[in-house]
């Protein structure tokens, strides 16, 4: 699970123009990662056994994501401590996570589909390849009753309202699409219980840090505006609303 800048945060470009200015950024759990955790918890409940382990790579602040996941019901956590997570490429992140979790021999690995900040959309897929297990992306339903330890049926989202069921050999890695189920809240009991759960901190190996085929961000900036938008109301919403209907009448001839 990844921690990302809050979706509603006002973004500013950082001084070195290589990332946003994070001075007083508020953070949250990446959206699809919350759904991935929920699916993992439901799977454990359906099977009636097993363990859900959360893994997050990032600076100390990602403990918030980890603690929240533990409060929702995850059993323990692995925190790979890296300060500059946004200078790492998806292959580097996947390799570091793979090194950290391969000994766990998980039956199922779940990740989010895509991060809301970098949006690489590939960390999970690369991780599967490095772990030597098959993967499915855009998973929108899991037939939990089909999980017999050897295989699993799952539904993938295709474009424009199409879907497809697959049967996967286990172990497998699924990247979970937002909306797969409704996410539970942490209960007070869960929050208390979380305090006693294990969070193992580990540092990445130097080898993963020296990966040399990475994509490197040279510069970030606000997109150039392509279209002339008529902005209405100049800060006065009510005035803008009145002007809008007048424009729709006079210029667009809606009425």
């Amino acid at each position: 699970m990844k921690q990302v800048a809050n979706k509603d945060a006002v973004l500013r470009i950082g001084k070195d123009e290589k990332w946003i200015d994070e001075t007083d950024t508020a953070y949250e759990t990446n959206e699809s990662d919350g759904y991935a955790l929920e699916e993992a918890l439901r799977m454990k409940e359906a099977v009636g056994a097993g363990e859900v382990v959360v893994c997050s790579l990032g600076p100390q602040r990602v403990k918030t994501v980890i603690k929240d996941a533990l409060a929702r019901g995850a059993d323990r956590a692995i925190h790979i401590v890296v300060d500059e997570v946004n200078r790492m490429s998806p292959f580097q992140i996947a390799k570091t996570i793979s090194d950290a979790i391969s000994d766990e021999k998980a039956d199922l690995v779940m990740s989010g589909l895509q991060s809301d900040d970098n949006g690489y959309g590939q960390t999970g897929v690369i991780l599967a390849e490095l772990l030597g297990i098959p993967h499915a992306t855009l998973v929108i339903e899991v037939d939990r009753s089909s999980a017999d330890g050897a295989a699993l049926r799952l539904k993938r989202e295709l474009e424009s309202g199409w879907y497809q069921w697959f049967t996967y050999q286990l172990p497998a890695l699924l990247t979970i699409q937002s909306g797969i189920s409704q996410i539970r809240y942490a209960s007070l009991k869960g929050i208390m219980a979380a305090k006693k759960k294990e969070i193992k901190e580990i540092s990445p190996s130097a080898e993963t840090q020296s990966f040399d085929s990475k994509q490197k961000i040279e510069k970030v900036y606000f997109p150039l505006k392509m279209k002339q938008t008529q902005m209405l109301g100049a800060g006065d919403v009510k005035k803008g609303a009145v002007e809008l209907i007048e424009k729709l009448r006079a210029e667009v001839r809606i009425f």
């Binding site: 006002v10 959206e31 949006g119 424009s160 996967y168 997109p223 919403v237 009425f255």
Partner: protein, 323 residues
């Protein structure tokens, strides 16, 4: 050489692959590289090979194996890995579709690489390529360079190149048998959920709500505005994910594609997956409290502010305008 991946279903071309051909041709011209296309193919792909050979390409490689009749990430990765190893391309290009995002990162990882995905444009600087990706859900652009040796795996966002700009020509078709390796997943046939109850593709006016609507109770405010206009109500994905509106109201790459005369986006940020579903609307109105929201980039009219202040006034004014 630049290798362009062609996507299809049973020989029927996914037209967005023409954008990938256009991208390959443009990049090839600039960098002085030849361009070839590759089509993973099952038993029968009909005329697809010849169709692609009608473009200006060095050759069209049909990578044939019965196991490729239906897409699987393992089958496609294993066979394309073989093709790349024999062809040695400098770039492997594709359009950033759901299928491509499923297997391209795996294919790249086979070569110890990653993809530079969902690029919106590129430029060259002294023979080096700089690719632009849109990050933070469309709010920021990021110029990236790729370090290390070829092959480089790059995908372009829909609309980054125009399919009609793909230059026509005459290429040779080479069919080769390819190993598909072990396939660890078994696909069923793709299907559509029971026909959507509402078909928004014929709507004249759409009022669409996004996460800015805050709660399920507030949906009825948007409904009032839709009623005043005589419009259909639609939504961005998070609204349907939360089940505040049914999924057949979702607009975007996973939902419906619409082009009404008027599209009013209330509290929608304008992520690319939403924009592809509505950008061809006649007139686009956006109301959002964030002046930097990407939705304003495609809007004809914009109001920066709170939708809860705007909606009641709009309802009144529409009623007045309609008389």
């Amino acid at each position: 050489m630049i290798l362009v991946f062609i996507e299809h279903k049973n020989g029927s071309l996914n037209k967005i692959s023409l954008e990938a051909i256009a991208a390959g041709q443009t990049l090839g011209k600039e960098l002085g590289l030849g361009v070839a296309a590759v089509i993973p193919a099952g038993a029968n792909i009909g005329e697809l090979g010849n169709q692609i050979a009608g473009y200006q390409l060095d050759r069209v490689i049909v990578a044939q194996n019965d196991a490729l009749s239906i897409y699987t990430p393992d089958g496609y990765t294993n066979s394309l890995e073989k093709i790349i190893k024999t062809q040695n391309p400098k770039f492997v290009l594709a359009a950033h579709t759901y299928q491509v995002r499923d297997f391209f990162p795996k294919l790249a990882a086979r070569f110890g690489k990653e993809m530079v995905g969902d690029c919106i444009r590129y430029k060259t600087e002294g023979g080096k390529i700089v690719l632009t990706r849109r990050i933070f859900l469309g709010k920021i652009d990021s110029d990236v360079v790729i370090e290390g040796d070829a092959p480089y795996f790059v995908t372009f966002q829909s609309g980054a190149f125009r399919g009609d700009n793909a230059v026509k020509g005459q290429a040779a078709v080479e069919t080769t048998q390819v190993e598909a390796g072990e396939i660890r997943m078994k696909p069923d046939e793709p299907f559509q959920e029971v026909k959507a109850a509402v078909d928004l593709s014929k709507s004249e006016i759409i009022v669409a709500v996004g996460r800015g609507i805050k709660s399920q109770e507030n949906i009825q405010l948007a409904q009032q505005l839709a009623d005043a206009f005589g419009a259909d109500l639609a939504a961005s994905r998070p609204i349907c994910d939360a089940e505040w509106l049914p999924i057949d109201r979702q607009i975007g790459s996973s939902g419906q594609t619409v082009a009404p005369k008027l599209y009013i986006a209330l509290g929608i940020s304008g992520a690319i997956q939403h924009l592809v579903g509505m950008k061809n609307s006649g007139t686009i109105v956006a109301i959002n409290k964030d002046a930097e929201a990407p939705i304003f980039d495609i809007a004809d009219y914009g109001i920066v502010g709170d939708i809860f202040e705007a909606i009641p006034v709009l309802v009144e004014e529409v009623k007045k305008a309609k008389g």
